[in-house]
Every structure is written in C-alpha cells, then in structure tokens.
C-alpha cells in the first residue's frame, strides 16, 4: 500500500478491542470514503523495527497497557521468598507457643494464688482490684504475654531486611558480574529475593539475546574439498581463535566491511590467486540471496538482510572481493576483484520450508546461463551430479566437523544451463506462474526439475554466536541439578541448533522427542508416547488405562525420576504447547517434561512463556527463575519466582520487569552458585540463630515463673531486656548474616553440587526450626537452673548475701550474653575483622553498659530508674559467680559441640568436605583449575540455516520494491521505549519487510 508523501489526511479506524492475540488483528480504515481492510499483516507490534524503509505513515492504534504486547505481560505479582513464607508461618507458631506458655503460667498463677498466695497475704496484700485467683490468673496471662513477647522476634524482620539489602549490594558490587564492554554492572533490583537465588531448580531462558548474541559470523568454509577458517601454528597444531588472534588484512578491498574478521590467510591467498572454485564459491554467496544493498555514500555499503545468516554470507563474499553492490529487478551488480560485472537475473527459485534451498539463475557477463544454489546439505547432496561424489564425501566430512563445533552449515552448488533447455524451462515456468490452479505445486515441480545434476562447490559454516561462556554456564548449572528450559520464539530448527551448540542437546541423548501435533489428540498421543518411551526401559509397560493410573502414582516420585538413567530431551512447538497447556494435558506435559533433561519450547508467545513457568510453579514445589532480554520475556520474568533481565540491545522492558539484571548470561552462574548460595546459607544460619537466641533469652522467665509464684516477675533487669536484642546481640549475628561463607567463591563454582543444599532446603525448614527452638529451650533451662542450684544457699566471700534477685539477674544475663556470643562464634564460618569487632565489641559493650547502669552516678540522677546500683560491682567481683558463668557456658555449648563434631566426622556433607580441602589446599596454593571447557561433540548437521519463512524472491523479481529510487530503510520508532510503547498500523514505502521480533524471538 503506497500513499503519496503528504500529511496524513483524516480518516477513521474501526478495529477490535485490545486483546493479547499476537497473530491476528481485524480492523477497517475509512479514508476519503474508501475502506481499507486492516489485518495482522499491516500491524506492527510494540517494539518492532521497520527495515528497508525510508519513511512510512503509521497510525497508533493501541498505546501503553492496551498494546498486544503489554496485554501479554500478565499481572505483576508481589514476590516473596519461600523462606519468608515459612518465616511467617513460624512466627505464627511461635505466637501460638507464646499463648500456650501464657496459659500454662496463668493456670499456675491461679493455683498458686489459691494454695499459697492466699496464705501469704499477711505480707503481700492483694490490690483492690484483685480479689480472686481466677482473675489473678487472667491478669497474669496478659502480663506473661508481655514479658515473653521477646520470643516472637519482631526485630527479626528488620534484621532480615538489612541482611537482604547487604546481599543486594554485594551483587551490585561484584566486579565479576560487571560487563566492561557495555560498562554494565549487575544490579539487584529488588532486595527481597536474594536467598531464593540459592534454591532455584528450574531456569527458563529466552534464546536470542540471552543465550546468543544474535550475531551471525561467517566462520569457516569448505571449498572444493579443502577447509578454510582454522589457524595452525608452525608445527601444524590447531590454534584456538581468540579475540587477539591476528585477523586477515582485507585492505586490498576498498569496499570491505571493516568489522568483518577472518583468521585464515590461505583463503585470501586462494582468492588472490584466482582459484576458479573459490571464485565460483564466493560468486554463489554474492548472487544467491535476497539481500538488499544500500550505498548511501560511495563505498559505504550497508546490507539489509532478512536473516542475519544471509547477511553474514553476503558480507563474507564482499570482503573476499565479491562485492554485491546493487540490484534491480533484472540485474545484480557485483564488484568482482575490482571489476564491475553485471549479472542478468533470470529467475529466483526462492526458499521455503519444504525445499530447504534457494537458487538463482543468472546470465553472467560472458553470456553463460548459470544456476547457483545453496541449501541444506542433505537436500542438496541428493541433487548433485554423480561425478562429484568424491568431493561430496570430503565435503560431508567437513560438514560433520563444522556441525560438531555447533556451526550452522549450508552447502553450495552450481550448474551450467544450456540456452535452449533454459528457454524451454522458462516458458514452462511462466505458464506455471500464471496458472490459476495448483500454482505452488507446479512451480515446485519445475524448480525440482531444474535443480538437478548440480556441481558441488563447498559448504559454509556460520556461527550463531553464543554469548561468552554459555555452554560452560549451562553445563555448570546442570551439574548443580538445575533444570534449564529454553523458551524461544524461534523456529524449531534454530532452537534445536542452539540447543546443540550450547550443549543442552547432545548426541549421546537416548532420544529427542519433538512434539509438533496440531490437535489436542495428536499432542496427547505424542506426549504419551514420549513418556512411555522414557519410562519403558525402567518400568514394564502395562497396557491400557491402568498403566496411566500407575504412572500417576509414580509421577511425583522424585526418586523414581532419578532412576531414569538415560537422557532425553523434549522439544515442543508453540501450537502444540497451546494444546498441551490446556487443563487436561498440562499434567502430562509437565510429567514428560520433567523426565527429560532438556526442554525446549519454540515458537511460543510471551503469554505461553508465562504459562509454562506458571505450570511448573504450580505443580512443582520448586523455585523457578526466568531469564530474558526482550519485551517478550516480561511476562515470564514477572511470573517466575525470580526474574532476571539481560540488559542488552533489546531495550529495557525485561530489565525493568526483572528482579536482577546483568549484561551476560554467564553471570547467572555466579549469581546463583555464589551469591544465591551464600545468601541462602547466611539467611538460614541467621534465622536459626535468631530463633535460638530469642528462645534462650525469653524462656528463662518461664522457668523462673515456677519459683516466683507465677507472678510475671522478670528475671532480668528491665534495661537488659530492652537492650539485649538491639545492642548486645544484634550485630554479631548481622555480621554473620552479611559476611559468612562456608566455602569460598572458587569452590562454590568448582563444586556446583553444593548448590543442592538450597534446592532441598535443608538448612532451614520446620525440622531445623524445631532443632533451633529446642536448643534455645535447653539453653534457657541450663541458664536458669545452674544459677538456681548454685545460688540457693550461696553467700558472698564477705558473708553478705548474694542470692538476691539483682545478683541473680546479673549472673544469668552475663551467662546469657556469653553463651550466645560463644554460640555465634561456633556458627560463624568466616571470621572477618568485622565479625571479630562485632562479637568482641558486643561483649565489651555489654560490660560497659552493665557497669555504667549500675554505677553510683546514674543512680544519683535517676534513683527510681536504675535500682540495680552496685550489683555488677558486688556480683562480678565474686569468683563463685564467675565459676557459675563458666559452668553454665560450658554446659550450654558442650552438646552443640558434640553434635556438630559427630555430624561432620561421621556424616560429612559435601560442604564439610569442600571446606576441608579448601583449608588443606590453602597451604599449598594455588593451581587455578578452572572448569574445563566443555567440548561439543555433536555430529548433527543443522538444517537450512535461514530462520525465516519465505524469502522475498518474488518481491525482488517483481520489482515492486525498486520503484523508489534508492531502497532505503527507516527506523519507525525507537525500540523498546517503555513509556511510549505503541502498537502501530503501518504503511510502508518499501517492501514492508517486517521483523516480528517480539513474537518470534527475533
């Protein structure tokens, strides 16, 4: 649709209401009394980029939250960690426990008042309001609730937040998650989820921009039975190509693309020598494609390719001296080794999914008619002339080699055509292309006919550049028992290809199930077959419905899942996924998927991504993490427990919706295995200690209740109660919560198995909580009863009494502070200077404050507020008191020591072992043994590498897009600007090539 260049006149658009269907749009434009239908083809989604288009008129239909993409985003839910939920439950339990204690003591009080207190009234009159034992019990209940309230850790919440904030800062500060090229440090955008990073079991990853860089690089080629692209040193050993390897100098070529890099000099030399095969090879690359060139200034060529693969190939040809310069509907102009040559374009036999190849027929400047073809090797090899069989085998070997390195391969071939044969064929082609019936089939037949007996030229290998370290990261995360699912908008082939290249799909896998059913029944059938096949070897298959039921019995059994030794992979298509996500099939999908090592979902919509995440979230009690970079990942990022945004070229939406963001996928490893694990560990240790501490502190009152007539008399000084949690004990545990490390970061990464601790949630669960509270109760018991025994008849060394309440309080309080300090010492694995400072500082502060508050001066000023005058002096100068404190501390700590020692000695955990090695190896440091580079050993060949549907051969030959003098492009709008995100109906001046990036994952 073309409109003259003029201000858009008024018109009217009637269209459907905002919805989340990305693949359809219905509307009508009324303009100048004409009606124009608007459909999906004329719609640009938010975040799309128009290419090859100088200008266009657009009309914004939906904005902001109404856009189809935002409708796909899903709700933003408040995220909380499982530990926090558990914590809330536990706090409720503790509250219940508090009430129980209150009730017990209240009943005790009623009984006491009845039996003892009533008779004691000669010395202790009842208050006027108090005239009956039951009422007294009732009041005592509330008094005890107030006194014992310290067992419900209010300060816990504050401390937890402080620790999380600290962990977030550590993530922000991590230099190893800083990406220098984009000056981007990792960012924790939320402070509430850190410890959950240590419990992740499922990772849902986007592909493009997350696993890959979305850059295609011409990496290697095989020409006439010889490979180019590898670099060898003088001894003939292959040299690993790195950033620093010297690249070929293309300065002979004024039209070169300066960014292009190639490391093998022999290919340039071959070109310079004029090897005919090499020349023909590059000629194919330069002619057989649908790329649009643009030359704004002389020599500044820019190619607009529909797929990055094509762009990479044409660019390679350009640098090697076969510059594709211009095209008209009938001609292609090349600049071959400095000479202009114009080829007459006779026909384009375009690419499609079935053909998996593309050919052009041209008349070269010499007048010969030639067919140039490129395509998937399997397809092309069938159509070669028998004479080239030897070459075919050699090339085939090379292709295996390329594929083994995860490269995307294409085979190239050509054929000389006889003038008369071609003329006759052309006539038939014309007939077919104008036929009304079966046009497609007839054309396909004709194409098939001419693409025979071709001569093989060689093969290309293109690297879909993975981000740095992706394969290693995935391998490492897999070792940590994290399951990685790839959810991509890409085509099946592309997705699989990436799956192979990043080592998620492997040749040694027993089976790769591809689910592509179009109906619910088909999908069910395929899933069931897959499941049976997986379960088959391990379990006897019983036929019929009963089998399914039996399977159901086992489906939640993780032990059973582990017995499946062989590895499987599941690949499911978007439309199949739509069926599989229905309520009746989702269990089957989930079960099957969970039995597989690798799951790849391709061609999924943003909403489906979220649905998949939600499915796992709902049915598996596992922590999920979604990682993505584009607007199409926002929904899954929001749905998953943890969302990670890759801040790349794709704009900010993903980052803005995410909880953590960084620049490279590989940082995920560090985020989870180091920061996540530490966060989890620290938080668990912190919680355990905190509950222990509060119980030990508070329950002393409970024991004392039995000896003071259940009168709600506190054991400690009021000031001690006020300051205990805030001043005396908060900082050491905070330091532990911030700095503790069981093993260092190198070992965390080297032993990914350590991560399983968090997944199994062994460090803090209800059982652990009970252990902590029991420990606390034991401690409080010892803290009360040892001084009780010692003080019952004790006197000072000057004969004056010491069994008074204030001395008793000071003794117990001092014991308590020392015991909890020793305990934090035992719990701390990593004593930094800060820990030392806080622990010793807290003890010092305790004694300073104690003596200050018991001093003469402060009593003289506030006599009624500091009644403990002189107690510290008179008590803590007694040897007997210190002996009591020493005994109490020993008895409190000894059992802990025994249990811990036996546990590490008899049943050492992975952590214990690693800690031991770490300590042992620290003495004879440092052989830095990094994770070995994971070598891909795949022999799988990629299919036709183009990731898109039909090319636009037709468009080129029809010449429609050539009418504008210079085919240029325009950027319709900035990508991914969240504030102005719009859905646009666009009419473009050019070919209207459109990249529905957001729907299909670019």
């Amino acid at each position: 649709m073309l409109f003259p260049v003029s201000p858009p006149p008024p018109g009217e658009v009637v269209c459907e209401p905002p919805n989340n269907k990305l693949d359809r749009f219905v509307g009508t434009l009324t303009w100048k009394n004409n009606k124009y239908p608007l459909d999906n083809e004329k719609l640009l989604l938010r975040g799309c980029v128009m290419r090859n288009t100088e200008w266009c008129f657009g009309l914004v239909v939906f904005t902001g939250p109404q856009t189809k993409l935002m409708q796909n985003c899903g709700r933003t839910a408040f995220k909380r960690t499982s530990i926090e939920r558990l914590m809330n439950t536990l706090v409720l339990w503790i509250f219940g426990f508090l009430l129980c204690m209150g009730v017990i003591l209240a009943i005790g009080n009623s009984i006491w008042e009845e039996k003892v207190g009533g008779k004691f009234r000669v010395y202790l009159l009842w208050d006027e309001v108090l005239n009956d034992a039951i009422f007294s019990g009732f009041l005592t209940f509330w008094s005890y609730i107030i006194i014992l309230n310290t067992v419900v850790p209010i300060s816990l919440y504050v401390s937890v937040e402080v620790i999380r904030l600290g962990h977030s800062y550590f993530i922000n500060w991590d230099r190893r998650m800083y990406y220098r090229r984009r000056d981007m440090a990792a960012e924790a955008r939320t402070t509430t989820l850190n410890e959950e990073l240590g419990q992740v079991e499922y990772i849902f990853s986007d592909k493009t921009g997350t696993l890959t860089q979305n850059i295609m690089v011409f990496n290697k080629c095989s020409i006439n039975g010889r490979t180019y692209g590898d670099v060898y040193d003088e001894f003939g050993h292959k040299v690993e190509i790195t950033e620093k390897s010297p690249s070929v100098d293309f300065s002979f070529n004024p039209l070169r693309d300066k960014k292009f890099r190639f490391h093998d000099h022999s290919l340039v030399e071959a070109v310079k020598l004029g090897d005919p095969a090499v020349e023909e090879f590059f000629r194919v690359l330069a002619l057989c494609h649908t790329v649009m060139p643009e030359e704004k200034n002389e020599g500044e060529l820019v190619y607009q390719a529909q797929s990055p693969d094509e762009g990479a190939l044409v660019t390679a040809a350009r640098n090697f001296g076969f510059v594709f310069r211009a095209r008209t509907p009938e001609t292609i102009t090349l600049y071959e080794m400095g000479k202009h040559s114009t080829y007459q374009l006779l026909a384009i036999l375009d690419f499609n999914n079935i053909r998996k190849r593309m050919s052009v027929i041209v008349r070269n400047p010499k007048g010969q008619i030639k067919l140039y073809s490129k395509g998937a090797d399997t397809i092309l090899f069938d159509r070669l002339a028998p004479s080239t069989e030897d070459l075919m085998y050699t090339t085939s070997e090379h292709l295996n080699e390329f594929a083994g390195e995860g490269l995307r391969t294409l085979a190239l071939a050509y054929k000389d055509l006889e003038e008369d044969v071609f003329a006759e064929w052309m006539v038939r082609l014309h007939e077919a292309s104008t036929a009304l019936e079966n046009r497609e089939e007839r054309l396909a037949l004709l194409y098939e006919e001419i693409e025979q007996d071709m001569t093989l030229l060689g093969a290309t290998a293109i690297e879909d550049k993975l981000q740095e370290g992706v394969a290693e990261t995935i391998a490492c995360l897999t070792l940590a028992s994290i399951k990685i699912w790839v959810l991509t908008g890409d085509k099946l082939e592309t997705a699989m290809n990436i799956g192979y290249s990043c080592n998620m799909l492997r040749d040694e896998m027993s089976d790769v199930f591809v689910i592509t059913g179009h109906t619910a029944l088909e999908v069910q059938q395929q899933l069931r077959t897959a499941k049976e096949k997986i379960l088959g070897p391990t379990r006897e298959i019983v036929n019929g419905e009963k089998d399914a039921e039996k399977m159901d019995l086992y489906r939640n059994d993780s032990v059973f899942e582990e017995t499946i030794t062989s590895e499987y992979a599941l690949i499911i298509n978007g439309h199949s996924l739509a069926h599989a996500l229905e309520a009746d099939l989702e269990r089957l999908l989930l079960d099957t998927a969970c039995l597989c090592k690798t799951v790849i979902c391709c061609r999924v919509t943003p909403l489906q991504k979220a649905q998949v995440v939600d499915l796992v979230k709902r049915h598996k009690r596992a922590v999920t993490l979604a990682i993505g970079d584009g607007a199409n990942d926002v929904s899954m990022i929001k749905t998953a427990h943890i969302g990670v945004g890759i801040s790349g070229q794709e704009g900010m939406q993903a980052v803005l919706a995410s909880d953590y963001s960084f620049a490279q996928f590989r940082y995920l490893q560090r985020l989870l295995l180091v920061h996540g694990r530490w966060s989890y560990l620290r938080m668990c240790r912190f919680l355990c200690y905190f509950f222990y501490k509060n119980f030990a502190f508070t329950l002393v009152h409970f024991w004392f209740g039995f000896f003071c007539g259940f009168s709600a008399q506190t054991v400690y000084d009021q000031w001690f109660i006020t300051l205990f949690n805030i001043v005396y004990t908060s900082l050491p545990v905070l330091a532990m919560g911030l700095f503790d490390q069981d093993v260092n970061e190198q070992n965390s990464l080297r032993h990914p198995k350590l991560y399983e601790l968090g997944q199994l949630n062994v460090l803090f669960n209800k059982r652990q909580f009970f252990m902590c509270t029991l420990h606390g109760i034991y401690t409080s018991f010892v803290l009360f009863f040892i001084p009780y025994g010692a003080f019952s008849s004790n006197v000072r060394d000057d004969g004056s009494h010491i069994a008074d309440q204030q001395s008793f309080a000071v003794t117990i309080a001092t014991s308590l502070v020392i015991v909890v300090s020793v305990q934090i010492g035992l719990d701390t694995n990593y004593w930094t200077a800060v820990n030392h400072f806080y622990v010793w500082g807290s003890l010092t502060i305790y004694f300073c404050i104690l003596f200050a508050m018991h001093s003469n001066g402060i009593f003289t000023i506030f006599p009624s507020h500091f009644p403990f005058l002189g107690t510290a002096r008179n008590t803590l100068t007694q040897t007997g008191v210190w002996l009591v404190i020493l005994l109490t501390t020993t008895v409190c700590v000894m059992p802990v020591l025994v249990v811990r020692f036996l546990r590490t000695d008899l049943y050492p955990t992975m952590t214990d072992k690693v800690r031991h090695t770490q300590q042992a190896s620290r003495r004879q440091r440092p052989q830095e043994q990094n994770l070995k580079r994971v070598r891909r050993t795949s022999s799988r060949r990629s299919a036709y590498a183009f990731s898109h549907q039909e090319g636009y051969g037709e468009l080129i030959t029809s010449g429609r897009n050539m009418k504008v003098a210079v085919p240029v492009f325009s950027l319709l709008r900035k990508r991914g600007d969240p504030a102005t995100g719009t859905t646009v109906v666009a009419w473009s001046s050019g070919s209207g090539t459109r990249e529905s990036e957001n729907t299909q994952g670019q």
Binding site: H751, Q805, D905
Partner: protein, 369 residues
C-alpha cells in the same frame, strides 16, 4: 580449640589486560575492587576437626574436675549449723509463740532453743536467718518500694511512689519506708548465749553492722536530711509501716545505723531471688588467735518471736556459718563441676573411639565435582 589459618583470599584472577574503555573513565560503573565489596575480606575460617574438638573436651575435663574437687572440699570444710525455730511441732520450744501471734501484741513472746556445737567454729562466724516458702521474689512484692524515698529524697518521703500501694499511706500520713517489702521487715530478735560448763550463760557479742553491701549502705540508702540532726524531726509527718512496732528512726540508737540506713532494713530490702533464702543477720567476730570464735559446747538461742510465718507454711531458721574464698557452704557447684568435667572427659574418650573407628578420615578424597 579450632583448626585455623589466616589468609587473604587469592587475587581476583579476572584482570584481563588493560582496563577497558570505561576503565580509565572516572564515571565507569565498574564496581570498586575492594576486598569488602568483592567479599574477599581476609578471614579466619575455623573448622571443627578431631584435632581441635577432642583436645578441647579433654582440657575441659581436666580443668573442671580439679576445680570441682577444690570447690567441694572447700565447701565441706565450711562449718555450718542450722536451727529451725519455727515452732511447728508441739515439742519445739517456740510452739507457743508461733501459735499466739499478733502484730500488735505489746508483750513480746520469747522462746529459747538450746543446741550444741560438736566442733569449734574457728574464724569469723556469720549468723543468718533463713526463711522458706517466702515469696520475696513475687512481682507485686518486688515492685512495692520507693527507692527514691529510701535514698533520702524529701519529696518522696512525703509523697511515696504509687508502687507502694497499699502500703503507701496510713491514716492520711505517708509511710516511711513505704511498700510491702519494708512493711514485712523481719523483726525477730535473735540472741546467742554460750552455756559455760560452769552453768553461766555468757552472751556472745553479735555485730550488727557490716552486714550490708557497701554500695547499699552508702549510696543507695540514705536518710533524708532535715534542718537538724535529729532523725525524728526529719521523719516528722510520716508514719510507720503498718506492721511495725517502732518508727523507722527508732530502729537503732546508733545514728549511723538508724533510719533508712539501718542495715537490717537494707539487708531485708535486697529481695531474695528464690522463695527459700537466707539473709545475713549478725557477725560474730573472732576475738583473738587463742580461742575459737565459737568453741565446742552448748549454746542457747534466745528468740524474741515476732515474725509470723505459720499462716503460709513458712519456716524460720537460724544459721551459723563460716565462709571461705568462694562464699558459704555450697556443695552444688563443686559437684556440678566434677560431673561436667567427668562427662566432658568421658565424651572426649567416646568421641575419640568413634572418630577412630568410624570417622571419615578420607575427607578430601571423595568430592564429586
């Protein structure tokens, strides 16, 4: 007690050549390379190993057992003599006194208890009174005092704290000292006589000062300062606690032991932690090196029985005791130390056996990575 070693964690290891384009730039967002921010603070990383835990147990054992034995022996060497003079039994001399009790009885009831010491008490002897089943640690009892008043504050003297209720005022006059603690001041008088073999009763001199903490006597408790030196004038306008027979300024004739700074009052005001307690009453000082403080022989304890305890099944005791460096007789601590020490030692042995038999000494070998 723990294996340890100090070491800074190794260098970053990630420095790749020259700093990047942003590296030199001051505005680079590259985080600082400080040990703190990179979590590489040098740290001591203790591990519980057999090499540290087992010796710890043995050391604790070997340390505690001697301490315990020392404490036990010391405690046993302390001489203590205890008489329960509550008068519960018909046969006991104070039975009558305990029966006809009245706070206001003008005629004091006296009774005497005879006892004999088998062994002489050599050094200073401390005389305690002990009460049982007496809840001095009850919350309402503990709070029922006004430290400000006892510190000599004139305002508090005239207007005692609300905490003292219901012993705050009597007949419209403020009570000095107010509150339930003061009101229930132990007011039995105990006198000790040595029955000389020749038949005469020799009174033993009981020192009534020096029985309270110095800080209490000199800082915490002070008499209010009035115009004159006469205490009774200062306490003008206050009344005595309900149960008392005397006013607070009549507690003693010695001005340094009268009023709020009367040491019996001070000792009583320091409330006991547990329902069974003893409080220092008098000190019998050693007279000379030649004779023991309390020689072997018969003694008579003369009690002016004022303090009723039978209503709540309380007991009253008189305790004579010598002391040592660790205080009074207290076998608990010694036994506890011996027990804990033995348990530690025993555990050490058990752990050692367990470690040798089952311990995983091949810790380092089998880390699956």
């Amino acid at each position: 007690m723990m294996a340890s070693s100090y070491s800074a964690k190794e260098e970053d290891g990630h420095h790749s050549g020259a700093p990047g384009p942003g590296g030199v730039n001051a505005k680079s967002r590259k985080p600082d390379n400080t040990a703190f921010k990179q979590q590489r603070l040098p740290a001591w990383q203790p591990i519980l190993t057999a090499g540290t835990v087992l010796p710890a147990f043995f050391i604790i054992g070997l340390l505690f057992i001697p301490i315990g034995i020392g404490l036990y022996v010391t405690s046993n060497n302390i001489k203590e003599y205890e008489i329960d003079y509550t008068g519960v039994d018909m046969s006991s001399p104070c039975f009558n006194c305990s029966q006809n009790y009245s706070w206001n009885s003008t005629k004091p009831c006296t009774c005497s208890v005879a006892f004999s010491l088998d062994q002489p008490f050599e050094s200073n002897v401390f005389m305690y009174y002990g009460l049982s089943n007496y809840y001095q640690n009850h919350r309402r009892y503990v709070k029922s005092r006004d430290d400000s008043q006892l510190n000599g504050n004139l305002n508090s003297l005239k207007d005692p704290s609300k905490e003292c209720e219901p012993y705050r005022t009597n007949d419209g006059l403020p009570i000095a000292p107010c509150g339930a603690i003061a009101n229930s001041l132990f007011n039995d008088t105990l006198e000790l006589y040595y029955n000389d073999p020749n038949g005469t009763k020799i009174p033993i001199r009981l020192v009534k000062t020096g029985i309270a903490w110095w800080t209490d006597k000199h800082v915490k408790f002070r008499n209010p300062v009035g115009d004159g030196s006469n205490l009774s004038a200062v306490f003008q306008g206050t009344t005595k606690p309900v149960n008392w027979q005397k006013y607070v300024y009549q507690l003693d004739t010695d001005p340094d032991n009268n009023g709020f700074i009367n040491e019996d009052l001070i000792v009583w005001m320091r409330t006991a932690a547990l329902p069974t307690f003893r409080k220092l009453y008098r000190i019998i000082e050693k007279q000379g090196d030649a004779t023991p403080t309390l020689p072997r022989g018969n003694y008579t304890l003369l009690i002016t029985y004022n303090y009723p305890v039978r209503s709540f099944e309380g007991r009253k005791r008189m305790i004579l005791s010598t002391i040592s460096w660790m205080g009074g007789k207290n076998p608990f601590l010694g036994i506890a130390y011996i027990t804990v020490g033995s348990v530690c030692f025993f555990l050490g042995v058990v752990l050692l056996i367990i470690h040798h038999k089952y311990g995983s000494r091949s810790n380092n070998a089998d880390i699956a990575s």
